[in-house]
């Protein structure tokens, strides 16, 4: 703990640089994420927080500035990171246990070790009995559990989550939040969690990086020093929520103004 795991320094991202349809998605992001920290990237939709996550994933490259992982510039995706998407993106032709073991097969881990690891993860996500089910037969919440297990299976250093609970109903989301809190407490994985839900961010995170409207900067970083388990009725929760919502509302209205301007 206490070591900087991910460090962004003056990161800028432009799409189609030099072309007439150039878009400045991210203007300037400087952010340090400590080893083991759970950090929420919060902001209005279209603000570039997913873009930032994908740059940490190595799928996109910054156009300016540097993005480091363990002090090394990020150069492409790799197995030291695990990723979870809003749309689950499981492999539909493989059963649950095969989906979870994907990264282990890629790494050439022995079958016995794969089985042991899959059993452990199935237990952790509470999907006993569904090992040989195909993803299509599972509910959204169950699919997302499998996706989380798949991302954790090969023991990456960092877990990247792109609005993972965005497509789930309220009850399922509440269960997933408490489960993810538990999983983070046992695995201590450095986690980057993109969301536009203030509630999710406060319930889960050690730190919330609030993104401004596009072109994005980090508007403010909130340290959420509340004990777990957290409830939406806690005084501390309510205080943070009010403060963050005020800050966020400003950005949302800026975004809308921007859209109205460009529409007019």
């Amino acid at each position: 703990m206490g070591n900087v795991k991910i460090s962004a320094e003056k990161v800028e991202k432009r799409y189609n640089p030099g072309a007439p349809n150039e878009v400045l998605a991210i203007e300037n992001i400087t952010l340090d994420i400590q080893d083991g920290e759970f950090v929420a990237l919060l902001g209005p939709s279209g603000c570039g927080k997913s873009t930032f996550l994908f740059m940490v994933g190595g799928f996109e490259k910054p156009t300016e500035g540097t993005l480091r992982l363990n002090g090394q510039p990020i150069d492409g995706p790799g197995a030291n990171r695990g990723i979870v998407f809003q749309e689950y993106v499981l492999f539909p032709w493989q059963v649950v246990s095969k989906n979870i073991a994907y990264g282990l097969r890629i790494a050439g881990v022995s079958q016995a070790e794969q089985d042991r690891r899959v059993a452990e993860l199935i237990n952790m996500i509470g999907l006993q009995g569904f090992e040989s089910a195909y993803p299509e037969s599972l509910s959204g919440g169950m699919k997302q559990r499998v996706a989380i297990a798949r991302a954790l299976a090969y023991d990456p250093e960092i877990l990247l989550m792109d609005e993972p609970f965005g497509a789930l109903d309220a009850q399922t989301r509440a269960r997933m939040i408490s489960d993810l809190t538990r999983i983070h407490a046992t695995t201590h994985k450095t986690t980057l969690f993109v969301t536009h839900s203030v509630e999710e961010a406060i319930l889960l995170s050690d730190k919330i990086a609030l993104f401004s409207a596009r072109p994005s900067r980090i508007k403010r970083v909130f340290e959420i020093d509340l004990p777990h388990p957290r409830r939406v009725t806690d005084d501390g929760f309510v205080t943070f929520e009010r403060e963050i919502l005020e800050s966020l509302e400003q950005e949302v209205s800026d975004t809308l103004d921007g859209r109205l301007d460009s529409a007019g």
Binding site: G57, G78, E87, G103
Partner: protein, 268 residues
């Protein structure tokens, strides 16, 4: 009975039976020359007769010899087309430049009726089994190439990202992600191609076959004004064609895409 009328699993058989009855009555009532339009009862008797031992100059199991030759040409041609076209289609789907250059050519070839290639192929290769096989290949390769390429392009970017993040190399992404994700398209493409191949083999045999083959049989029977044999040929072509498309690929689909719950075009 009401279910049969509205449509259940027995309806297809009943519909074909009814079609046969209407045909039989129409021929008998109209008094049309049976040499031009034989009744289905006579065609069926002839069909059974052709399955059995021969008479005089007619060899034993004549119909089975024709069918066997047709299936041989079909399978060799389809197998070669499937092997090469799948690979070409996958490469097209993965490589932008290859796609950009090959797609216009394939789009053009796809709209040419397969039978239009036959005179050219005969000019190059003469008559015989090899010619029929090449006709089958030209008939079935384009749908496979086209759908395989479309399949690869339909794979969600994020599915590839998920694999890359798990440490998969380019080769591993091909074997562990692209093949599985493209499977519904590959199956749909091969199903379509097999239907095309069946039409192609019959057309090819009509022009290029000299000994056996159902297409040859139909064309040859015309020479002797043997309309019963011609209709036997048409019925055989219909029955085997439906079996190949529905039964064979129905089986493959149940074992793969239906089990995975992945939607695919059911009746191409």
């Amino acid at each position: 009975m009401a279910g049969l009328v509205r449509g259940n699993r027995y309806t297809p058989f009943a519909a074909i039976l009814l079609f046969g009855i209407v045909w039989e009555i129409a021929v008998r009532v109209s008094g049309i020359n049976a040499l031009l339009m034989p009744p289905p009862s006579a065609v069926l008797v002839r069909l059974v007769d052709m399955l059995g031992p021969g008479r005089g100059a007619t060899p034993d199991f004549l119909l089975l010899r024709h069918i066997g030759m047709t299936l041989l040409a079909l399978l060799i041609g389809f197998f070669l087309a499937a092997l090469v076209s799948s690979a070409v289609g996958l490469i097209m789907g993965m490589n932008r430049a290859v796609y950009a250059w090959l797609n216009p050519i394939i789009s053009m070839f796809m709209v040419i009726p397969n039978i239009a290639f036959v005179p050219v192929i005969i000019l190059w290769m003469g008559l015989g089994l090899e010619t029929v096989i090449v006709v089958v290949i030209t008939g079935s390769c384009f749908p496979i190439i086209y759908t395989a390429a479309a399949g690869v392009q339909s794979v969600p970017q994020r599915m590839i990202w998920a694999a890359q993040t798990a440490g998969a190399s380019r080769r591993q992404i091909l074997t562990t992600v692209l093949l599985g994700a493209t499977m519904p398209y590959l199956i749909a493409g091969h199903k379509l191609a097999l239907g095309r191949a069946w039409r192609a083999v019959i057309a090819g045999e009509i022009f290029a076959s000299t000994t056996y083959g159902v297409g040859f049989m139909i064309f040859d029977a015309r020479t002797f004004l043997d309309s019963e044999a011609m209709f036997v040929g048409l019925i055989v072509v219909g029955l085997i064609g439906v079996t190949l498309e529905r039964v064979l690929f129905g089986f493959v689909e149940r074992r793969t895409v239906e089990k995975w719950g992945v939607s695919t075009a059911k009746d191409v």
